[in-house]
């Protein structure tokens, strides 16, 4: 699937650029994308190291399992395959909590660790398990209570009321999360 999409993106991109006579743009972009991916990694790396460190303290002190305990009735319903008390539940809980507060940078390392932990429960290591896909949907629908980036951007452009969209965002994210989870369930049952 990913292979086909990736091939499609590149073939369309190159062919259309060639046909419309934008060879220079193409050459430039091929070099540029290596640079922008390195920039991205360099930006993510130290932030990730920091949050993984902080999270390790929370794990060692037992704070994280407290959090997952609070969220466990909900998580049990969403992830029926995960055995009770498994560490992936507390990682998923911390990822969701970080996302809710708009801490995207902190949420990513939690999410990656959660995936790693879900992989230990997975029978076929190259195939996504049902729990993994449910967790992915939770992340792509973007459960946010405080959309920090949007608020700061609106402030930057001199909005009269930067936070007026917050409630609308919460409502939209709620609908997309519930809708995504329903579709996830339907698709999981079908195959």
């Amino acid at each position: 699937m990913v292979n086909k999409i990736w091939g499609f993106l590149i073939i369309i991109g190159v062919v259309v650029c060639l046909v419309t006579g934008k060879v220079d743009v193409l050459n430039n972009e091929i070099l540029e994308s290596t640079k922008s991916s390195l920039d991205m990694i360099i930006k993510i790396f130290p932030v990730m190291a920091l949050w993984l460190g902080i999270m390790n303290i929370a794990t060692a002190s037992g704070l994280l399992s407290k959090l997952s305990h609070a969220l466990s009735p909900l998580l049990q319903k969403l992830f029926p395959e995960i055995p009770k008390g498994h560490e992936s539940l507390s990682l998923i809980a911390s990822n969701i909590t970080a996302n809710m507060f708009g801490l995207g940078n902190a949420a990513t390392p939690f999410g990656l660790k959660a995936m790693k932990s879900l992989q230990t429960l997975n029978d076929k290591k190259d195939t996504a398990s049902r729990s993994m896909i449910t967790f992915l949907v939770l992340n792509t629908s973007g459960v946010t209570i405080i959309p920090t980036t949007i608020i700061s951007l609106r402030m930057m452009y001199g909005s009269q009321n930067p936070t007026e969209v917050v409630f609308a965002c919460i409502l939209a994210t709620l609908i997309s999360t519930i809708g995504g989870l329903i579709i996830d369930r339907i698709l999981a049952k079908r195959r």
Binding site: G13, S36, N56, A128, S141, Y157, G179
Partner: protein
């Protein structure tokens, strides 16, 4: 009020975690360093996936083929009373977080954040996440090759999010 709350979240989180750690007699510094070391492995497995995705998506975007798609779909959108200016953002939101953020910047600069278009852009950006990025990163980092129906489920969540954003903004501010 919310801006103030959100600026306190991170410092308070750090404070609580460290305080609780000390209270539970954890060697906080040692444990921190141990955890941070894990980031090396993660970054190394992430990088090739990220590079591949950015390469593919940027080549595709640079071909401007989406402009033709926009032109094709324009009549349908004006019929549905959706501002066509928002359209590129709707399409790019699941594919590239930085492009959709760049478009939102542009919309704010042109129409202002308090216009209907500005508000709609805000809600679309704020209520969904970059599906392709998350998919690449999360599955790439653990070596998942068969992603099954996950792309469809993720994209469905995006579509639902964008459609509800349009309806909600029209109800609240329309």
């Amino acid at each position: 009020m919310i801006e103030q709350i959100s600026s306190y979240v991170i410092p308070l989180l750090v404070l609580i975690v460290v305080l609780y750690g000390i209270f539970k007699k954890v060697n906080v510094y040692d444990v921190f360093v141990e955890g941070a070391t894990e980031s090396f492995d993660m970054v190394f497995t992430m990088f090739p996936c990220l590079l591949g995705m950015i390469f593919g998506i940027n080549l595709f975007l640079k071909s401007d083929i989406l402009n033709y798609v926009f032109a094709l779909l324009k009549p349908a959108f004006s019929q549905l009373n959706i501002p066509t200016e928002i359209f590129p953002m709707m399409l790019l939101r699941p594919i590239s977080g930085s492009s959709s953020l760049a478009i939102l910047n542009n919309l704010f600069a042109t129409y202002g954040p308090d216009s209907l278009i500005g508000r709609l852009g805000s809600v679309i950006q704020g209520s969904t996440d970059t599906t392709f990025y998350i998919l690449t990163l999360y599955f790439g980092s653990i070596g998942i090759k068969k992603i099954r129906y996950s792309l469809w489920a993720g994209l469905a969540a995006d579509v639902i999010g964008i459609v509800s954003a349009i309806i909600i903004v029209n109800c609240f501010f329309g």
